[in-house]
């Protein structure tokens, strides 16, 4: 490689690393998680094997050997030569073990509490709760509610308890008792089969479409063109003001909107003078909520388009305007015939960039309506957030949330390719036909 190529690679390296760390790796992990049933209950790490009464009940209903289920359901503690030898090997006090053998040799106890009560009556017993429980553990033949790290440990404990299971019963038990996550395609079936998904999809389309058309492109054009025709000082001030929503901390920005729109806010106070009763202008109906969601996000989004369009308009050669003025063109004709055609590429860029940006943005909606009223402003990204990361019942479903996020990634990729195709991106970056 030449020195220039090395330098190029070096300069690219940080960007490549960041893209891999913050885009590729998360996307791949999302793709992986989407095929699992990871949730709060299964945990993210590997699970253990734990047999509970409900699992045994279910297995019995599915045809497991009744007697085996019966024995497995009992929490037995047995004092026999084997368990005493085990305890002695583990270093328990011989005097205590001797007394235990003498008083309870050969006995079985139904449940930990009964056994511990018996132990507490011995005079040579360990004199702390912890030591007592450690001693009791050696006599435990119970497998209920105990965590076994591997299937082998579970099987060994079952054999230890003297229970014989057929191979299929054993496999069923090992499978049913696993508490961790498993691979599954259920998430996709669930997503497709759910009514909510369709509603959320429609909400997302409404959100992206209206915000994009009305503000990110529409109002941005209005701002760019009007500030072009204003004196420089005024134009700068107006552009600076319209930048404020984007650079304000989101929480403060949305708080200002709440002060405007809520029952006890500015709008209610002003309209109250005209006899309109106070109401929550933001959350009253879903239409209200949508209006505010589009306004809140639009005010933020308009500034990017405004800047790009402004600089693009500035790049138009002035003689074109002078010539059109000489020809008697009105402002509107100038806009239609000179400015807009030159803004084709910037509009393309803003459309594709902002569509993808709007698809994934949800923080302003989270702060303002939180998907309400009802679930009428719940957009896809917000639904994924509520499913996987934050909801009232604490029931976080990482796997299903990843599925929702994966769909978003897929849509993003498809849309990007579509935009590049439709707007003929190749032509923009094609090599010039003039030789350099």
């Amino acid at each position: 490689m030449t020195r220039t190529q090395w330098l190029g690679a070096l300069f690219l390296a940080p960007a490549v690393i960041f893209v891999m760390l913050f885009f590729l790796a998360p996307v791949m992990l999302t793709g992986v998680f989407a095929f699992t049933n990871m949730s709060t209950a299964t945990g993210i790490g590997s699970g253990v094997h734990r047999v509970t009464p409900s699992i045994l009940k279910e297995l019995a209903a599915k045809g497991m050997d009744r007697e085996a289920v019966e024995t497995l359901s009992r929490a037995t503690f047995r004092v026999d030569s084997r368990s005493i030898a085990r305890a002695r090997q583990a270093g328990q006090d011989p005097a205590f073990l001797a007394e235990l053998e003498q008083r309870h040799g050969g006995q079985s106890f139904d449940g930990r509490r009964a056994f511990e009560r018996a132990l507490k009556r011995l005079s040579a017993r360990p004199r702390s709760v912890r030591a007592l429980k450690q001693a009791a553990a050696h006599f435990e033949l119970n497998i209920l509610n105990r965590s076994f790290e591997t299937p082998q440990a579970l099987v060994a404990a079952i054999l230890e308890a003297g229970i014989t299971l057929s191979t299929e019963d054993r496999t069923a038990l090992v499978a049913a008792s696993y508490t961790g996550w498993t691979w599954t395609t259920d998430n996709f079936r669930r997503m497709v089969g759910s009514e909510d998904t369709a509603t959320v999809l429609v909400n997302t389309i409404i959100y992206v479409f209206f915000t994009l058309i009305l503000f990110n492109i529409g109002f941005a054009l209005v701002l760019a063109i009007s500030t072009f025709y204003l004196p420089k000082a005024q134009a700068t001030v107006i552009r600076a003001i319209w930048f404020l929503p984007r650079i304000s901390p989101p929480v403060l920005y949305v708080l200002l909107w709440k002060w405007l729109a809520w029952d006890t806010g500015f709008l209610s106070a002003v309209l109250g003078v005209f006899g309109v009763e106070a109401r929550n202008w933001m959350l009253d109906t879903s239409v209200n909520a949508w209006v505010f969601v589009v306004l809140i996000n639009g005010f933020v989004g308009a500034s990017m388009g405004m800047i790009l369009f402004s600089s693009a308009i500035r790049a138009i050669p002035q003689p074109l305007f002078w010539a059109s003025q000489v020809d008697g063109a009105s402002r509107w004709q100038q806009v239609r015939r000179i400015i807009l055609p030159q803004l084709r590429w910037p509009i393309l860029f803003v459309t594709s960039y902002q569509t993808l940006s709007l698809l994934t943005s949800f923080e302003y909606i989270l702060l303002s309506t939180d998907g309400g009223p009802g679930s009428s402003t719940e957009v896809w990204a917000l639904a994924a957030y509520h499913t996987a990361l934050n909801n009232y019942t604490g029931n976080l479903e990482y796997g299903y949330g990843a599925t929702l996020a994966l769909v978003l990634v897929a849509i993003g990729v498809v849309l990007s390719l579509a935009y590049l195709r439709i707007f003929n991106f190749d032509a923009l970056v094609a090599r010039p036909r003039i030789e350099t």
């Binding site: 949730s39 709060t40 209950a41 299964t42 945990g43 993210i44 790490g45 699970g47 253990v48 734990r50 509970t52 009464p53 409900s54 009940k57 930990r112 509490r113 511990e116 009560r117 507490k120 709760v129 912890r130 007592l132 429980k133 209920l144 509610n145 965590s147 508490t179 669930r190 089969g193 759910s194 009514e195 909510d196 029952d263 006890t264 009763e277 109401r279 929550n280 959350l283 009253d284 109906t285 879903s286 939180d370 309400g372 009223p373 009802g374 679930s375 009428s376 990361l389 934050n390 909801n391 009232y392 019942t393 604490g394 029931n395 976080l396």
Partner: protein
């Protein structure tokens, strides 16, 4: 032998230093125990402070046994639930969960399966005091799959409240107001009577429109009470499955739709600010509402209501239809010991939890926050027995109280129920449509774990 050799001098030097070091006080063990509590506001501070008090007692007990230990307790409270549960769950995944967590009992099921929490019965002597004094049904609520995972931290019930002066204005006599709890308990006064009274109060101009019936403004166990009022059951213990009673759910949704249609409740009531809600109900701006036993502390404390019993009557949540089931839900909080740290730390944490559950310490929390006690002997502690609210609420509500089930799928069921209620209440869907959609969603997500009736 005259002088001491160099090696000998060095040895003497080292011995002196060692003796000096040995004389300095050192702790046999130092523990830094962290405790987080969710859904806790300023009145609930004893949830975490009790652990500190327990640490003091445990340190003294250890000193008597001849072991010097030092315990520092790191406390943190969250006022909401969503952020708290997210924090605990994600911290647990990276083994950084707090040692002790105070949360609602419904978290035991998923957290037990995920291995986030240890069983308290493995760490403490369940036959010892104060555990043997705790109400058995509370121990039952703190268990999952037959194993006791946590110790109850408090108990409560969720009553229905009436503003007495407004009731008097619409024609209730003193005797009728006093007889109201009984009427509700017998199923003679129903939820639709509630709407009637709310309408009358509103029509008389005593409260503003939409304030006649002023329910809770965010999700909570309270809403399951209305489902139960219409005959719904949450759980079939015999089969170990959740239960979706479609008729009851539809009627439950319809009740709130009717409340909005009647004009006694606002369509977008949910999402109102809690601070605003508390100050309004405690000052007579609402007619009828519902809440929890701990509201007593808030109304008489921060909201400055001086005569609680003269202004507020409380009953069970009325039945949906005559002869139906008036009820109340109790949502006990539990102390849980997590998988954080060594076994040593876990045993210490469990002992702290056990000491914090002693009647006297628990009573401090019970009375300060107006929750109910967990142990039988609390009834004879002066601070508790002399508190009028605690004794009346216990007598009137607890006998009829049941709790939500401990089931790993219950969180999903709750979310679906809440989404359906929101949709029907705000008018997005009809009550029937909302119930149908809830049924479909539950079949889709819970499958076998729920029984559809």
């Amino acid at each position: 032998m005259g002088h001491i050799g160099q090696t000998m001098q060095r040895l003497i030097g080292i011995a002196t230093v060692a003796a000096g070091l040995a004389a300095a006080p050192s702790f046999a063990a130092e523990y830094a125990i962290s405790v987080w509590a969710g859904g806790s506001n300023i009145n609930d501070i004893y949830r975490v402070d009790a652990i500190e008090m327990a640490a003091d007692i445990l340190t003294r007990e250890a000193a008597i046994r001849g072991k010097d230990i030092k315990i520092t307790v790191d406390k943190k409270t969250y006022s909401g639930w969503a952020d708290f549960k997210q924090a605990v769950t994600l911290a647990a995944e990276s083994a950084k969960a707090p040692h002790i967590v105070v949360t609602g009992h419904e978290d035991i099921a998923p957290w037990a399966q995920a291995g986030i929490i240890r069983k308290i019965e493995d760490l403490v002597d369940m036959d010892a005091w104060p555990i043997n004094d705790i109400f058995p049904n509370l121990i039952e609520i703190s268990s999952f799959e037959g194993a006791v995972y946590g110790l109850p931290q408090d108990a409560e019930a969720r009553p229905f409240f009436f503003w007495i002066p407004h009731l008097k204005e619409i024609g209730y006599s003193e005797a009728e107001i006093a007889a109201l709890p009984d009427k509700v308990a017998k199923g003679e006064y129903t939820l639709y009577d509630v709407l009637e009274d709310a309408k009358n109060i509103q029509d008389k101009g005593l409260v503003a429109e939409g304030y006649g019936f002023y329910p809770r403004v965010s999700n909570g166990p309270d809403y399951w009470q209305f489902y139960q009022s219409f005959g719904g059951e949450m759980y079939d213990a015999a089969r170990g499955k959740l239960v979706f009673d479609k008729a009851a759910m539809t009627k439950f949704y319809q009740f709130f739709v009717d409340a909005v249609a009647k004009g006694v409740t606002r369509k977008n009531h949910i999402g109102t600010d809690w601070g605003q809600w508390y100050s309004e109900v405690a000052s007579g701006k609402a007619g009828l509402w519902h809440g929890g036993t701990w509201h007593y502390a808030r109304y008489t404390g921060k909201e400055g209501l001086t005569d609680f019993f003269g202004n507020i009557q409380f009953t069970l949540i009325p039945a949906g239809e005559k002869g139906g089931r008036p009820n109340t839900i109790t949502h006990p909080m539990v102390y849980l010991v997590t998988n954080r740290g060594s076994d040593d730390e876990a045993f210490i944490a469990a002992e702290l939890v056990m000491i914090a559950s002693e009647p006297r310490i628990n009573t401090l929390h019970a009375i300060k926050s107006a929750h109910l006690g967990i142990a039988k002997s609390q009834m004879s502690i002066g601070l508790y027995s002399n508190d009028r609210w605690t004794s009346e609420a216990t007598k009137r509500l607890l006998p009829y109280a049941n709790a939500m089930p401990n089931h790993t799928g219950f969180g999903k069921y709750w979310t679906v129920m809440w989404n359906g209620l929101k949709a029907a209440w705000t008018g997005q869907k009809s009550a029937q449509q909302a119930a149908n959609d809830a049924e479909a969603e539950l079949k889709n997500t819970l499958g076998d774990a729920i029984v559809i009736r």
